[in-house]
């Protein structure tokens, strides 16, 4: 059975990736997950320098989901290369580094620095974090800024470049098209939905940052719709993200047109989810008589099903 997929020049053994910000730097999970069995490990977003992040409380649960406002706490790219990459190489992980900047130049610098690092297989551009004042979503909510940052990174590296798109826009597909035109190898979506929770007894926001990003199964139907819209409008691969908690959920994205998927919040609930997702995908292929997972990608049928007419009311 062939679970392999391609993201530009990058060949992945299967379409499952960890979602940035939901899997630490990967090494935290090395004891419980064979990192080499993931299609790719997408690590927590990195700036050039270390960052502190927001004061707790940083997360709050909501119906079938959660809000987070971590504030991109991180060790910075240099410590990552020095302290984390050797361990990720030892585990034979395919590493995609999520990068964040406050200026276009910072994104390009990060891309140049990481291009020379053994074991880095691709770059995901965080132009969609809802929780920081500068950078993040300010790039991803403006078409010209999206083009600017993607093309700057494109010029700085030969690594696959994957802008991660925000759903907090009116027409996410226009941003996917802008990214494609600027030279992106793929787009990943969705990042979290800007949201808010209030402690009504204290009349205060629950999160110290006031607002946060909603993730988890609650957002999945919207994410599937957005992936479907984007996949129809760009030729580059789309990586689907949003509330995936089972192989069935992952298949929804693949059928909608995603070439690969990322799993985030579900890994918090069950760090042992990865082999279950893989075996679920294999079981589906067997049940449907398919050899390759690629046969599932974009296989959505939108015409009326053959037996649907029988129950469809007709005007006479």
């Amino acid at each position: 059975m062939d679970l392999s997929v391609s993201i530009g020049a990058l060949q992945l053994r299967n379409p499952l990736m960890s979602a940035s910000g939901c899997f630490g730097y990967g090494v935290e999970y090395a004891e419980v997950v064979d990192l080499s069995t993931l299609g790719a490990v997408v690590v927590k977003g990195l700036f050039l320098t270390e960052r502190d992040g927001h004061r707790p409380p940083r997360i709050v649960e909501t119906p079938s989901g959660m809000l987070n406002a971590i504030g991109l706490q991180g060790i910075g790219v240099h410590r990552f290369i020095r302290e984390v990459m050797p361990e990720l190489r030892r585990h034979k992980a395919v590493v995609i580094v999520n990068i964040c900047g406050t200026t276009v130049a910072e994104y390009a610098d990060l891309a140049r620095i990481l291009s020379d690092v053994d074991g880095v297989a691709g770059l995901e551009l965080n132009i969609s974090c809802p929780n920081i004042r500068e950078g993040g979503m300010t790039f991803g909510c403006d078409l010209a800024n999206t083009r600017g940052v993607v093309s700057a990174v494109r010029r700085a590296t030969t690594l696959p470049v994957i802008p991660k798109l925000t759903p907090n826009v009116t027409d996410v597909a226009s941003f996917a098209r802008a990214a494609e035109e600027a030279g992106a190898d793929a787009v990943s979506l969705v990042n979290t939905f800007l949201a808010m929770a209030i402690d009504v007894e204290r009349r205060r926001p629950v999160l110290s940052n006031v607002m946060g990003g909603l993730s988890g199964p609650a957002i999945r139907p919207i994410a599937v719709r957005m992936v479907y819209e984007c996949a129809r409008q760009v030729r580059i691969p789309v990586i689907g993200i949003g509330g995936i908690a089972s192989a069935r959920d992952a298949l929804e994205f693949l059928i909608a047109g995603a070439t690969a998927v990322q799993v985030g919040t579900a890994n918090f609930v069950d760090p042992f989810i990865w082999p279950k997702l893989l075996s679920g995908l294999e079981e589906y292929l067997v049940r449907h008589g398919l050899e390759r997972v690629r046969d599932v990608i974009g296989s959505l049928e939108t015409g009326a099903a053959p037996d649907a007419h029988a129950s469809t009311p007709r005007c006479t």
């Binding site: 899997f23 630490g24 004891e31 707790p56 649960e61 971590i70 988890g216 918090f268 609930v269």
Partner: protein, 269 residues
């Protein structure tokens, strides 16, 4: 390495309209857990509530031959997840991930152990007291709650030979006031050349008071911190605690660098 166990509820003993002790059949976690470590318990079968809840292991349950058969958690009903646990009937299974986190560092005689607990913060001290008594340590429990009927399992500690000092905010049992008050008195009375380790778990204001008292008397302390936690594995960066680092301070993840911290390392925000 933590493992994930579908643990059967063996029994569920209600202590009050809010507090209960839940016994879970998870021998493979019970045999490996160290005092101060925690488990992440999934409270719902489906996706609401979505996340697991962190709990200190309260007691280790043992079979006839003394082999661990499971563990208990001491839980207080505060939200939808803990409400489900409060109502969990025997026979139901709950996914338990653990053991997780860094445990308490144990002391040896002649160092005495003073454990300071507030409310549900009693949880990590039953296993700690057991281990310290096995090593021959003199152990004291300073235990505070709002009122007398919220002081639980005192006899469990007394049976182990632990001296107990109790306090209630309404004065219905023990010292009238907060537990830090009798702790301050006893710290002041203790000879400075008699070695001592202070362990504490409870509400943050209590931890602040205990760590400052310990420091003022030149005593080391170990605090088990409670934070809103997403994953327990270091993946989400939600449960951070601010600690001293070199010339400055930084946030560290309490799930993997804690939940036990040296009192002198914590920067209170």
């Amino acid at each position: 390495m933590p493992i994930d166990v579908e643990a059967e509820v063996l029994w569920n003993r209600r202590l009050s309209p809010d507090y209960h002790v839940l016994a879970l059949a998870a021998p493979s976690i019970a045999e490996r857990v160290e005092p101060g470590q925690f488990v992440m318990v999934k409270t719902a079968d489906g996706q609401d509530p979505l996340l697991r809840r962190p709990f200190s292991v309260f007691e280790i349950l043992r079979g006839d031959a003394g082999m661990p058969t499971g563990f208990t958690i001491l839980s207080k009903r505060v939200g939808p997840g803990t409400a489900r646990l409060y109502a969990a009937p025997p026979g139901r299974t709950l996914a338990c991930l653990g053991p997780l986190g860094r445990p308490f560092t144990l002391v040896d005689p002649p160092v005495e152990a003073w454990m300071v607990a507030g409310g549900v913060g009693l949880a990590p001290f039953a296993t700690l007291a057991e281990r310290l008594r096995e090593r021959g340590c003199v152990v004291t429990l300073f235990y505070g709650a709002r009122q007398a009927h919220e002081l639980f399992a005192v006899d469990l500690f007394e049976k182990m030979g632990v001296r107990t000092v109790l306090a209630t905010e309404d004065g219905t049992c023990g010292v009238h006031g907060r537990i830090s008050e009798p702790l301050a008195v006893d710290l002041g009375r203790r000879a400075s050349d008699a070695p001592l380790m202070v362990y504490a778990c409870g509400p943050e204001p209590m931890l602040v008071a205990v760590s400052r008292l310990a420091a003022a008397h030149g005593r080391p302390s170990q605090l088990a911190m409670e934070r809103v936690m997403g994953c327990g594995m270091g993946g989400c960066f939600s449960c951070v605690v601010r600690v001293r680092a070199g010339d400055g301070t930084k946030y560290v993840r309490s799930c993997i660098e804690g939940p036990v911290f040296a009192g002198e390392d914590i920067v209170w925000e």
